[in-house]
Every structure is written in C-alpha cells, then in structure tokens.
C-alpha cells in the first residue's frame, strides 16, 4: 500500500480526533493572543453625580477581593471629566467604590476579570449618592 493511501486512510479514520485537537489548539492560540493584547493591567471608569454630571476630584478606592489576604486598597482621583484610571493592577476579583466630601459615596461594585492584568472598563459609572 502506498504511503499516500495509508496517510489518506489514517486521516479518514482519525478525522474527528484531528478536528478536535486542531480546534483546541486554535482556541488556546486565539485566547493567548487576546490575553497578550489586553494585559496592561489598566482599569478605567467614570464617577457621576445622580444627575449624570461628571465629578472632578472624587476618590476612587479599589480593593482586591480575596479569601485569605488583607491587602491595602489602591486609590486614585478623578479628572475634570470624572474619569479615573488605575494602572498595573494585578488582581482578578475586586471591589470598587468612589466618594467625595460634600457630594456623597457610591455603592460598592464587585467585578471579576477573566485573567490577571486584564484591561477593564467599568460597564456602569460609579454614581455618588448623598447620605449613602
């Protein structure tokens, strides 16, 4: 039996396995490329008043959510458009909140990331509420 025919028969008999392995390898490759392109550890968001106006100078606190460690929270200030940016963040589960004297405090929001140092923009703004 020729080599080409033997290879063809082998291919037919193992097509399912071949497709499965190729699919797994491709999925891993795509995932790793995605991770590589999005692993700067940047977390961004915006702080607003209940009326929807940006809050400048609000303090945003970011605390890692862990089971057995107590870590110091990171803090940042918002700019004139109410935006904040955390850099070099190495955590996958965190709680974030904001406050400003005279305006109020936001609710605590918990987020989970898919990988360490994932770039992440908060899907909803941190809204400061008086008396909360």
């Amino acid at each position: 039996m020729s080599l080409a025919r033997r290879l063809s028969e082998f291919g037919r008999a193992n097509l399912g396995r071949f497709v499965f392995i190729v699919a797994v390898v491709l999925a891993l490759l795509i995932w790793n490329i995605h991770v590589r392109l999005n692993d700067d550890g940047i977390i961004t968001g915006v702080v607003l008043t209940p009326e929807g106006d940006p809050v400048q100078g609000a303090t945003v606190q970011l605390r890692e959510q862990t089971l057995n460690l107590v870590k110091e929270p990171r803090t940042e200030q918002t700019d004139d458009q109410g935006r904040f940016i955390f850099t070099d963040i190495e955590m996958i589960d965190f709680v974030i909140s904001a406050k400003k004297e005279g305006i109020g405090t936001s609710k605590r929001h918990r987020y989970h990331l898919y990988f360490m140092r994932q770039n992440f923009e908060l899907p909803e703004p941190l809204v400061l509420e008086a008396g909360s």
Partner: protein, 271 residues
C-alpha cells in the same frame, strides 16, 4: 411479553440508568458554573447566571498549570512505558518456555497484593535510586501493570500462527516481529493500555503524596486535597477544580473509546 414491549421496557430502563449516571455529572458542571450550593432549597435544575469565573479563580489561587503539567508528564511516562514493557512481556508470554506457568502464576498472585502493603519497600527503592521528588519517581510504581500485560497477551494470542511462521521463515528478529506484525494488530490492546494507565496515573494520590516534598512537584489530586484544606466554603471553585481535573480523562477516553471497549472484550474472552 412481545418483542416490541420488551424493547420499550429495555429502553425505559436504559434511560433511567443514563439519567442516574448523568445527573451527578450535570450537577457538578452546574455548580462549577453557578456556585450554587448543593443544599440550596429549592434546588434548581437550570443554572442561573452561569459564568466561568470559578475556573479563573482555581487557575490563579493555586499553581494549577504546574500541577497540571506534572500530571501530564507523569501520565505520559506511565502510558509510554506501559505500552513498551507490557507489549514486550505479553509477546514473551506467547512463547512456550520452561517456567512460563510459574511466571504467570507469580504475576497473578502479585495482582492480589494491594499497593498499600508494598508502599514502604517501593519508597525505599525509589529513595535508593535517588528518584524522590522527580517525575520518574512519581511514575515508577506504574511503569508496568500486570493486568495490561495480560491484555496484550490476549491480543497477541489471537494473531494467526501463520503470520508468525511466515515472519520466522523470512528471518525476522523477535523485536521486529513485535513492532511490525503484532503491535499494529493489537490496537485495541494499546488503547486499553492508554486509557487504563492514564486514568490510574492521573488519579494516583497516595504515591505522589509520599514521595513529593516540594509543592511544585505535586500532581492534580494532591492539588485538589490542598485546595480543600485551604478553602472550605467554596463550592463553585471546588467543583470547577474537579471539572478541570477530570476533563483530560474524559477527553482521552472519548478519543479511544471504541478501541478501548473492543480491547477489554478481547481480554475478557481470551484472557
């Protein structure tokens, strides 16, 4: 009872058995995706807000990749060495030679001795060879398994004697005969070897626990035990870890199941 009625009854019985087998697996998968505790009342069959964050937690909370690679390396050593040594032993047992019966009886009697009773001598031997805390040391007790020798022997016995005679007349050496004639005809035996030894090696707990001192040399079952001792009330992460441990076994089985079943059958009939 008519034939049709008997068929319906058989199918109902099979559906019930399938249900009983699938439900616990489904429950583990569901809990790994939702974190819902087993004792929640009322229990929900459909997962609510499924996500993969528990898998992410497991990946980062323990050195999962390291444990996984250790398990893969040890299992690869075990699978390859089993195919080589068991095929050679099974082939040799096909010959008639003085003491063959004694060797087979010794094999059979050794199968009846549980590993726990020989664990201290095995440990001392491994230490003597300087293989403690190594991948080879982790694989050592499983490099050849007796039951798989008999699986190979049963398959080789089924090969027509005319093939052996023809190869012998052509002047083929024993090892070439094994490699070129017997092994290609023993694919079910190879699949059986792969699956059984992979599962045994992958699930091995007591031996890695004894001979590994460094955390980085531990395998997945030890990682699971460590995970349990660190984190108690973490249903979602625990079940996600279980899925991550058993997934490779399921994949290996599904990829070889047809050959595996025929290999087991031939061993059962002719062994």
């Amino acid at each position: 009872m008519s034939k049709r009625r008997r068929h319906i009854f058989t199918h109902i019985l099979l559906v019930i058995v399938c249900f009983l087998i699938i439900v616990p697996i489904y429950w583990v998968v569901k809990t790994s995706l939702t974190g819902e505790n087993l004792f929640n009342y009322p229990p929900s069959l459909i997962p609510k807000d499924p996500h993969i964050y528990f898998f992410v937690d497991v990946y980062y909370w323990i050195p999962f990749l390291r444990f996984f690679m250790n398990s893969v390396i040890v299992s690869a050593i075990v699978v390859v060495s089993n195919i080589i040594f068991n095929a050679m032993a099974g082939f040799a047992l096909g010959y008639n030679f003085p003491g063959k019966r004694f060797i087979i009886l010794t094999y059979l009697s050794c199968m009846m001795v549980p590993f726990q009773t020989t664990i201290i001598p095995a440990f001392l031997l491994t230490k003597y060879f300087g293989l403690l805390n190594t991948h080879l040391g982790l694989a050592l007790p499983l490099v050849s398994t007796i039951i798989n020798i008999f699986v190979f022997k049963a398959n080789f016995d089924a090969v027509p004697l005319s093939l052996y005679d023809a190869a012998r007349i052509d002047g083929m050496a024993d090892w070439r005969m094994l490699l070129r004639i017997y092994l290609p005809l023993a694919r079910p035996a190879i699949a059986t070897n792969i699956i059984l030894t992979f599962v045994w090696s992958w699930n091995n707990f007591i031996w890695p626990l004894i001979i590994t001192q460094d955390t980085i040399m531990r395998t997945l079952p030890l990682g699971l035990a460590r995970f349990l001792s660190y984190f108690e009330d973490t249903s979602g992460q625990l079940y996600a870890f279980v899925i991550m441990v058993i997934a490779p076994i399921i994949v290996v089985f599904l990829m070889n199941q047809r050959s595996f079943i025929s290999g087991m059958m031939s061993g059962a009939v002719k062994g």
